[in-house]
Symmetry: C2
Subunit: 119 residues, 2 copies
DNA sequence: CCTTGACCTGGAGCGCGCTCCAGGGATTTC
DNA sequence: GAAATCCCTGGAGCGCGCTCCAGGTCAAGG
């Protein structure tokens, strides 16, 4: 299986090398395999997991939650629980989209009002 | 005109008293009027402005931008420029809503995939 | 050989946006 | 007139999520 250097993993995942190391320290990534010289070698699986991590971070999941989720992932038997967590997160994402939209509407009303004042 | 104590202003605006003071220090609020004993007395106007501030914060405008906007507001003649800034912000809000939605979609695909694995 | 460059580690530092605290009034309540 | 309550100021501290740094190792190229 192909592996990826830290620089490549950063390139592909969209996280910085420092962030990748930070995530590993935090337990968000399981310990990454090493070459004989001690350099990390990311696998396709690692990158796949990082893709999910990116998705979750971009939708506002805190590091601490991600860590819990990652710990849960260590036990295969928790798949149902993990899916439930993702669905729960999906609901929160929906809420924040809704909140953002309603604030946006309010903002647009204010803009319209200011426009009127200037006209 | 009715005025509001710090506690009342906090209640109505939804910001904490500390945050209100912080915003004033930062120049996001113009200096709030004081009673004879030195306590702040917020006006309706102050609360109206705070409502816009809340809207902008909730939609992700950074403190620094809010400060610039507030400084601009000191000069009546800048109304058009301010409206332009709000519209610019509105576009960014739209972008973040779109981004959130697309990440949500990706997330849902992943959930569906995990569900499949467990079925 | 020696340099270059990618990577390693542990730990410090940073930017943001508050939030809290010490020490000190003033005014209403009993 | 004592106590409680609300407020004041300046400044320190905090939680989050990275980001950077010093000092060192290893592998390949000139």
């Amino acid at each position: 299986m192909a592996t990826y250097s830290p620089a490549q993993a950063a390139e592909v995942s969209g996280f910085s090398i420092d962030t990748l190391r930070y995530y590993e320290r935090e337990g968000i990534l399981r310990p990454i395999a090493r070459t004989s010289s001690g350099h990390r070698a990311y696998t396709e699986d690692d990158l796949g997991w990082l893709d999910l991590v990116h998705c979750l971070r971009d939708t506002g999941m805190p590091i601490a939650d991600l860590k819990l989720y990652a710990e849960l992932s260590l036990d295969e038997a928790t798949l149902a629980a993990r899916v439930a967590l993702l669905e729960e997160h999906d609901r929160r994402v929906q809420e924040s989209i809704d909140a953002l939209r309603s604030q946006q509407e309010k903002l647009r009303e204010k803009i319209a009002w200011y426009r009127e004042q200037g006209a």
